[in-house]
């Protein structure tokens, strides 16, 4: 065989090997190599949806109270970072509030490749770092929730956690509406990672930004209510207070306050997670004597009593063998129901239940069933109200099943032995005094469109009739009578019609009601004389382990709120 032939054979062999390799790469391993190639020249990014902002009202104008801000995380590769560059660009005076690591820590272990040294760095400082171009330092863009109003309404607003999920309050309950939907960018890119329009597989799904939600809360009312609560808590030495202010004609919430508060931008810095709870909607409790108004409204609506109906009052009676006493003693004698409401006589509200059941001497099953129907199905106690927040239901005992129903329902006539939330009571009261129609409380006024204009949501209207207009009128007068009785005369501005009721609730400890601890509540409403009420406010103030008297501590809080609302809402007094 001559050399040419050998060379030929050699070339054929090489060609065969190359062909075989090509076949292997292009046919057998096709998918693998295509995937690798695509990964090299394909840019795939998630287009982050912008989380919706939250607005409150400022009179008739929406103002933003929760926003987004671009911030940066500074990451260092200690293996390649230079000490001098780090000192100049990162570990300087401008960055001191953002640093989460010390320079010595970075330099102490040069084997590491990744170390977060600063968080929540402003865009301005991030630009300075970028311009300095220090070795082994890079920036990661992220978004931070900003609360320009600080702690205002924090327990109503909630917060956004490190994963970008809304937690508690509006942020949690409306998370789906606020979060939006991320988009996707998948495109051919060059070596500089610049997206190129060439290629037939480019995908761009735009992000759907979250909705900007406008709350019905007026930030001025909210701020003033919180100021008043704080002032009164300090004055009375109490450490917990909540309040809700609403428009009884529409169900719109004007303020929802819980103190103490916290800074939602620094939500981890709280002593207890209980601070995240919105006690107005999530914390069922026994509101006590404010419920007498519900019992009386039931009796009046059924036509079995009026404010002038009389009964023989005693200081103590026994139901199912259990003693039930009036808080105000020495009131024995024939008394009107107005008197019973004014002096918050438990025996009087039990008498109303007896009349409701059709037997002036005894509590009947019919009476219990009727009261249950009014409490639950009409006033909405023990049921979710439908407000756009997390809600607890509470507990209203069954009128038939179980032992001691008479005793249970006797207690329920004055708001004990039952669990309801403040929002349930406030919504029920609104229905009682607004002409008799129940409006589901709402905290969402609408949204802000792309032009920055407020788009109000459709008003839901009244859900149901609770009591007749006449009953509602009588209850307004009874509650005004209670508030304007001689012992309270002069606390409201003249020319206005302000009514309300106290409730001092005993507290259960270790399964028994105790005498050394109580929670104070006040529910009231106000407006011009002869007009429908324009606001309703409910206040709750207390301290664990201490007694808190509603007359002395909750009522004055309401009075200050009420007088502020009269001025702020520019309610004109009736002039004779």
């Amino acid at each position: 065989m001559n050399r040419i032939k050998v060379l030929k054979l050699g070339l054929y062999a090489v060609a065969a090997v190359i062909l075989a390799r090509l076949f292997f790469v292009q046919i057998i391993q096709k998918e693998t190599w295509v995937a690798k190639a695509e990964a090299q020249h394909t840019l795939e990014n998630t287009i982050k949806a912008k989380r919706g902002e939250i607005y409150m009202m400022d009179g008739s104008e929406p103002v933003v109270v929760v926003m987004n801000e671009k911030v940066y995380t500074v990451i260092v590769d200690p293996m390649v970072a230079e000490e001098a560059e780090l000192k100049e660009a990162v570990f300087n005076e401008n960055m001191k509030e953002n640093l989460v690591a010390k320079l010595e820590e970075v330099l102490s272990d040069r084997t590491r490749r990744y170390m977060v040294v600063a968080k929540n760095v402003s865009r301005e400082n991030a630009l300075r770092i970028r311009e300095a171009q220090p070795s082994g330092v890079w920036l990661q863009e992220t978004t931070k929730r900003v609360y320009p109003e600080g702690t205002l309404a924090a327990r109503t607003l909630g917060f956004v956690n490190a994963d970008g999920e809304g937690q508690y309050g509006v942020e949690g309950a409306l998370n789906a509406q606020l979060a939006g939907k991320d988009g996707l960018l998948k495109t051919v890119a060059d070596v500089n990672q610049v997206a190129l329009s060439i290629g037939d597989k480019n995908v761009k799904i735009p992000a759907e930004d979250g909705e900007n939600v406008v709350l019905t809360i007026d930030r001025n009312i909210q701020a003033e209510v919180e100021n008043i609560l704080q002032k009164k808590m300090d004055e009375y030495g109490k450490d917990q207070a909540s309040a809700v202010v609403m428009n009884p004609r529409t169900g719109e919430i004007l303020a929802m306050a819980n103190l103490p508060s916290y800074n939602p931008a620094d939500y981890g810095n709280v002593e207890s997670a209980s601070l995240y709870i919105n006690r107005v909607t999530e914390d069922p409790y026994e509101p006590a004597s404010v419920c007498k108004a519900f019992t009386f409204a039931t009796g009046i609506d059924l036509g079995v009593m009026t404010a002038e109906s009389t009964y023989y009052n005693v200081d103590k009676i026994y139901i199912d063998g259990w003693p039930i006493e009036n808080a105000s003693k020495n009131g024995a004698g024939v008394r009107t129901m107005q008197y019973a409401l004014n002096w918050s006589l438990n025996v009087g509200s039990i008498q109303a239940l007896k009349w409701i059941g059709g037997d002036a001497e005894n509590i009947t099953e019919e009476g219990r069933k009727t009261l249950y129907d009014y409490y639950v199905n009409k006033f909405g106690l023990g049921e979710e109200t439908g407000i756009e927040l997390y809600e607890a239901t509470g507990l209203i005992g069954d009128p038939v099943e179980g032992d001691g129903r008479d005793s249970l329902y006797a207690n329920m006539t004055f708001g004990q032995n039952m669990l309801v939330t403040m929002i349930q009571v406030a919504a029920g009261y609104s229905a009682m005094i607004n002409g008799g129609e129940y409006y589901a409380p709402t905290i969402v006024k609408g949204t802000i469109d792309t032009n920055g204009e407020l788009v109000e949501k459709e008003k839901a209207g009244a859900l149901r009739r609770v009591v007749s207009e006449d009953t509602s009128r009588q209850m307004r007068e009874m509650l005004w009578g209670t508030r304007s009785s001689p012992r309270l005369l002069g606390i409201d501005q003249a020319g206005y019609f302000v009514g309300g009721k106290t409730g001092t609730a005993q507290v259960i400890r270790d399964g028994e009601y105790v005498m050394d601890e109580s929670v104070a509540t006040y529910v009231g409403f106000g407006g011009a004389e002869g007009e429908m009420p324009e606001y309703l406010a409910m206040v709750r103030i207390w301290k664990d382990g201490e007694t808190t008297d509603a007359q002395k501590m909750a009522l004055p809080v309401f009075s200050e709120i009420s007088n502020y609302l009269i001025d702020y809402l520019k309610i004109k007094p009736k002039v004779e």
């Binding site: 671009k70 900003v146 320009p148 997206a195 190129l196 007094p573």
Partner: protein, 105 residues
């Protein structure tokens, strides 16, 4: 008889027809040139598109930068006009509290 030969002469084809064909080298060169031209057009268009992409990318970056600045300013504005801020404002603190007058007695 002798016909006039001028007619025959007049009409005779005096051009010599020979088939003209490109040689293989010329064909290759022309093909090469055509491929080059098409290639250049393709590359030019591709580069043009890419240059637009760069321009687009720059504009998008500018937009993002301006939006970030706008967001920063909006946050600053909200902070400056917040109730918390106005409460701690010295001028506001020194303002006289308004007195409501004229209520009916």
């Amino acid at each position: 008889m002798r016909e006039s030969s001028s007619a025959w002469v007049r009409n005779r084809n005096i051009v010599r027809h020979t088939p003209k064909t490109l040689g293989s080298v010329s064909q290759s060169v022309i093909l090469g040139v055509l491929v080059l031209v098409v290639g250049l057009i393709y590359v030019t268009q591709g580069t043009k598109a890419t240059s637009y992409d760069y321009e687009l990318s720059k504009v998008e970056n500018d937009i993002a930068k301006l939006e970030a600045e706008k967001e920063d300013l909006a946050v600053e504005r909200a902070r400056l006009t917040s109730i918390a801020r106005s409460d701690s404002n010295e001028v506001a603190a020194n303002m006289q509290v308004g007195q409501v007058a004229g209520y009916a007695e």
